[in-house]
Amino acid sequence: MAFEDQRTTVYKVDPEHPESESLPTLRTEELLLNMGPQHPSTHGVLKVILELEGERLVKSTPVLGFLHRGVEKLAEDGTYHQFIPHTDRLDYVCAMYNNFAYCRAVEKLMNLQVPDRAEYLRTIVAEVQRIIGHQFWLGTQALDIGAMTVFFYCFRDREILLDWFDELCGARLTTSWYRIGGVERDFTPSLLDKLKKFLDYFPPKIDEYIVFLETNRIWVARTKGVAVISAEDAVSFGLSGPTLRGSGVDYDLRKYEPYSAYPKCEFSVPVGKNGDTYDRYWIRVMELYESVKIIRQCLEQMQEGPIMADVPSVTLPPKERVFTNLESMIQQFKLFSQGFNAPPGEIYCGTEAHKGELGFHIVSTGGGKPYRLKIRAPSFIHMGAFDYMSRGYMIADAITLFGTYDIVMGECDR
């Protein structure tokens, strides 16, 4: 494997050389370099202490926690409904997925059945969020490595979807659109129109991104064969999402444990071969096409129906009724001030977010608040493999590594 060859080579003066006495001796020492916490390509506040031998990385120690806000502690102090806006702030570029993963976990705890239409709406929005996430990743990764044009193209198209979110729920980033047992509101005809237009507009744009990157020799040279990890190691480190699939493991919860409307859609999961940055890039771009496919199918299959499970003791009443109907107002008030009564028990529920497996482990002892809520954040677990994957590469490849995991520090530090 190329990985072994790239391990440190120490440059020393040849002692066998006839004039070795008169040659100047090279002073060698290890250099410690602090990268971050204010570095523009660490995507937030992340510090990595790099031990260098020349320009080769000998060891890198991530220093996390600059964005630690104690979200898990906060969860213990609020009701289940109140925690939804907190999840937005985990992975703040892809809030919908966090809402989705959290609501699914609570629904598993409460054994709730979500109505069909709500499942389709959830899947569509989740896939739109996946497109946004991958566009954001592609743009910033290319920018970090030195291909600037793609950044503008990706962000131009991402803007369309963020405006679409704005129309859907009134926020572009911190959305809080998912609710326990359903979703907050239905699509309007205008939203449907815009989404359909986007689906026609978008696939040619993906081709454009690909042309920009794959004809860029610098970009290809800086991604191919960089940050290689074998399938066995990737599994042992608990990597997930495109980072794991790049190494040839087809672990995708949408296929392994189908949920929501995914079992009713036909789509494929792209899997890489070499486990390098280029393969992970390729997977993410291919997933853009797959997401478009999933959204198209969902739009075709979706039927009229309720968008919220009808379990008054757990789910919120429709917003229109809250302002006109006394009982609904009481229901809303009680749910938000006291919460619903969760059964004692313990669950884990993982969801395939675009970064990897985002899971929630909830321990309940009854009552309206979780006793303990643990977030399995893919960014955090990916950082665990950083040292192992960076060894032997050049210092400039550290930038590629930050990008290849698609880390967001809000999620990593929680």
Partner: protein
Amino acid sequence: MHQLAQRVQDTFPVGFVSSTEWRGDVSVTVTREKIHEVAQFLHDDPGMDFDYIIHVSSVDWPDDEDRFEVVWEFYSIRKRQRIRLKTRVPESDCIVDSLTDIWKGADFMEREVYDMMGIRFRNHPDLRRILMPDDYTEGYPLRKDFPLRGKGWRDTFDFLDEVPR
């Protein structure tokens, strides 16, 4: 009893404590002394084949005799099954075997448990705080006796008396 839990019980009649199955999640509790052996068995046995570590978590039960609970979640990518492994740790001897030699990913996850709950891991290669600062001395934030607003130097702030009019 679920067949996975049954197999753990059959293989480790001494270390096995209890098992539950709720909402489709199988969970097995074993004694602290056996945790490494059981984990090795879960990883190596072809019928188990739990090659993927999902997360390591911890729960604080202040009223119980063994105060802390460490929770591991494993997944088998080939067999597509999952299991939850739990053990109890007393406050007086707050240490449990590290599983970093079986799953490499356990490194950061165990460091987080140490940082947040104060449970130490035997044979861990680099057991330091990970999210809180290295010199943080105010305790372990996710313990139930740690106040939500934090503690330490903030408590020593002098508050100004109401300004006389």
